[in-house]
Symmetry: C2
Subunit: 436 residues, 2 copies
């Protein structure tokens, strides 16, 4: 039986999950591929010994022992970070090895450099595990939806953020309390910035846009707003309007320009994305032929992510044994077809908005606020003013018709400067449901 040898750098959560998948599924993979995939070496600086049943696998503290091993066909990088990981990957490529990685931060920052190096050495880069854990969405975009122009990408791409929002929704708990609890339970990291500020979601959106549109995307062009300012009262008002608040990545393909943004969004409660709860992820694509498609599953975790890493290893192993490397281009379009495109500036965005104004309960306030909105061409669709007293002030809540982001910013600046305004206005963009 043909044999493919694999080296694994990084034996943390996902690394040990990946090794476990390779051992537990060894016989199944033989039955499916006719090939034996052998985990020859694991490199990790903190690990002193391997589990007993990892027979035949060597442990080393030195990644170079994998990168320079002429016997190893595929190097799996699972140490994370963007410095050492980048060096290891580029060194492995230079040695003619195929690479599988789950490193979304690295790919969203230095993807083009890595893919260019890989193309020059005719090796493959597998990165299914970098987005959406075990959900086979990279493969679906590259192959299953190959006959589509992707018109839009939307998704809940961060399990920690969605877990926090779900807890806030179900129990009316404050953001900071839920976060503390999530950290205690291990659902959120000690430094949760990447998750709650939308940065992790933006990393994933960069990768998906690159693949879906055949486009060279820069992370800094993506507008990114987190969930730290969402309050339970906004979630309650959202419900009254028929929405759920989700941290969405949204990208729309307008041919000459492309929307790309990450922000808390009011999602109509009947939309599939509104019903994705807890640590689950949902990726919602619209193709010009296939219409709406959603892929749903656990977007992180030891074994689901290991499942995706091993799927990539198998894919590359099949290409090695069938002598068809780069049968599918790594970025789904032929390398010479990938080009930068204009990202729509946020000021040009048009969508409906939710506003929560905090004001003193004085006569004429509502009239002045709506006057300012009118001057900026922002039409009000509905208002809730309930006199729920809150820290001495009254919330006025509005839903607008479609309005322009720049106008909204100008109007809110004026309203926030009013002497009756007691706190900065909360603004949440509303998703228009195109499914109905």
């Amino acid at each position: 039986m043909k044999e493919i040898k694999v080296g694994l750098i990084g034996f943390g959560t996902v690394g040990s999950g990946t090794a476990q998948v390779l051992f537990e599924q060894k016989e199944r993979l033989k039955k499916r591929t006719g090939t034996s995939i052998v985990l020859k070496k694991i490199a990790d600086i903190c690990t002193k010994s391997l589990p007993d049943h990892f027979t035949g696998t060597e442990l080393t503290a030195d990644a170079a022992e994998i990168i320079n091993d002429p016997d190893i066909d595929i190097v799996i990088e699972l140490i994370g970070g963007t410095t050492l990981a980048k060096k290891f990957i580029l060194d492995a490529i230079a040695n003619g090895k195929h690479v599988v990685t789950a490193n979304k931060a690295l790919l969203s920052l230095h993807g083009m450099e890595i893919f260019t190096a890989a193309a020059a050495k005719n090796v493959e880069i597998g990165f299914e595990a970098s987005v959406g854990g075990g959900i086979p969405l990279i493969k679906s975009l590259k192959e299953g939806l190959v006959a589509n122009k992707i018109l839009s990408i939307m998704g809940i791409m961060n399990g920690t953020g969605n877990y926090i929002l779900t807890q806030m929704t179900d129990h009316g708990t404050d953001f900071h309390d839920v976060l503390k609890d999530a950290q205690k339970k291990g659902y959120a990291e000690a430094d949760p910035t990447y998750d709650v500020e939308g940065i992790d979601t933006a990393h994933k959106l960069v990768i998906l846009m690159t693949m879906a549109y055949g486009m060279d995307v820069r992370l800094e062009d993506i507008s990114c707003e987190g969930i730290t300012r969402i309050e339970p009262i906004d979630i309650q008002f959202a419900e009254e309007f028929g929405y759920r608040i989700k941290l969405l990545a949204i990208s729309r393909n307008h041919d000459d320009h492309v929307e790309a943004r990450v922000h808390p969004t009011m999602v109509p409660e009947k939309h599939m994305l509104a019903n994705i709860n807890g640590a689950y992820n949902g990726f919602y694509f619209t193709g010009d032929m296939v219409d709406n498609i959603m892929l749903y599953g656990q977007g992180a975790g030891k074994m689901p992510t290991g499942s995706a890493v091993v799927a990539d290893v198998v894919d590359i192993a099949r290409n090695i044994t069938h002598n068809c490397i780069n049968r599918v281009p790594s970025l789904s379009y032929m390398a010479d077809q990938i080009a930068p495109r204009r990202i729509t500036p946020m000021e040009e965005l048009r969508c409906p908005y939710y506003f929560r104004f905090s004001t003193l309960d004085k006569p004429g306030v509502l009239s002045r606020i709506s006057g300012i909105l009118g001057q900026h061409d922002i039409s009000i669709e509905s208002v809730i003013q309930k006199g729920r007293e809150r820290k001495g002030t009254v919330p006025i809540v509005m839903r607008t018709y479609e309005a322009n982001e720049a106008s909204v910013c100008h109007a809110l600046k004026e309203i926030n400067a009013m002497e009756t305004t007691t706190a900065e206005t909360v603004k949440i963009r509303i998703l228009v449901d195109d499914e109905e």
Copy 2:
């Protein structure tokens, strides 16, 4: 540029959609594959002429002109049915041509014969379009989830049936009225038997089980019950218990035996499958590594199905140009690994049940019914008896704890024979939500 030549047999809804995808996406497919995919011939007995922009494509009434054309690499069969379609496919295979088909009925009945013939000639069979329209789920099972033992397959696999149930749920309309309306609108066929009796769903389940488990499945072993007996009153009671009624395919992999059944099911309202409405489909898989995954989209339709057909054509085209035919086994396991396995007889099933008894409003009836259930080891979890008079009788509605199907059948037989019972008891199986 390399060129792959394709012949299309059948120019109906899906056939014309497929041809449209091939023309509209021609340039995109070149950018993604470096190959030109040319639709050389279309065979159809009813079509007199092709659209003007189909330049270079010949029209013929004789499928043999495609099957015997030495120039054609891939034959697409989209005529449906199980007689002529089977002959055309086997003839094409015998001529060494690869085949792409959306024919679920044919594959669920004669799949093994076709796959064996294809293996003998070393050609490929693409059948992504046979299940779930444009949703890339066959590829996901074969490749993306390759490192998983699939533990269960559940799904809403028929858009017509789901459209009817959704209309009944949203508007309280009677099954037959919704069906008539759906037929008028073209959502249901003149003979809706396959859709509403669950047969189409069973066809799809056979294909998915074969692939997911590496198992030789026979259609006649799948227990199949349709939605024609569901009444709006059951949908209302379901809501009171926190369920939605869906026509589900359910298969669970118990190693030594495999559950395989299609029937109306009460799905907990928080389950993802409960929220799939209208003509959409949802395929919910559980893998031992990846946990729960769901793929959602339009399970039928001209362009979505065309998208899947063309994805298969591209897959095979890549294999031809890279000289790696059968890089992935058609049935996802190596041919010698596929074996029959025992299908669990329905009598052995255990699940919770919903019953609606129609009885005369007489003292002691509830006590007698619960007595009979108790004798058969069926424990009642909750009862609703509201005295809603209905054609002179009163409905008594119950939800049971997990019970055995055979015991339930015996008990209902006794209860149906009671002199106070005015109509056959309605029985709907309840899905246990393993997601929470």
